[in-house]
Amino acid sequence: MKFAIALFSPPHAPSSRRALRFAEAVLAGGHEINRLFFYRDGVYNAADSIVTPQDESDLPAQWRAFVERHALDAVVCVAAALRRGVLDSREAQRYGRVAVVPTPPWELSGLGQLHEAAQSADRLVCFGGD
């Protein structure tokens, strides 16, 4: 089956880790992930400036490694990201700020990408809350 996975919570919310473990299990089970979509506070998972305490799980790093290892399509909603200060170098240049999301593997794009992923997946699973 093809899964679209959306995450609405920041890395310090348990649902970020839950979404990642779920995504890993999707691939391990022989399924496919057609897109990861980060919306609302979920955009912070792509923020490169987060420094996790050494004895805690570093979710932004784990997400990045997971996305890179499996060459996944990882889209961060640009409108949600701008107002939360998560910018890639292009947006940072446009607004005269510093970039806190690296371009690869993350991509800033619009909500249309969420709909497109949901349309072409067999299942859409959204993680949020606590």
Partner: protein
Amino acid sequence: MTTLHLLSRSPFGTPLDSTLRLLGVRDGLLLCGDACHALQPGSAPLQLLEHLPDSVALHALAEDLEARNLMAPERVRVVDYPGFVELCTRYDKVNGWL
């Protein structure tokens, strides 16, 4: 079309009944995170869950039960992440109550 409903918030902080009212008779419920506290014996949320029709399947994520030292009642099936994925394939759609 059946729906698997994901609950992750504490049932004491946010009212559970408004969500349970929306379940279809063939829907499933998966408790994760603080929503697992709904399984606390002797609590009002557990009573609400027990009053769901038998056709509604109840599940809970194993790791969240273990973290909270909670036991699942007989009616609740405990799943790990592969089981969670499998549940998503079995229901027609998945709805996360944030």
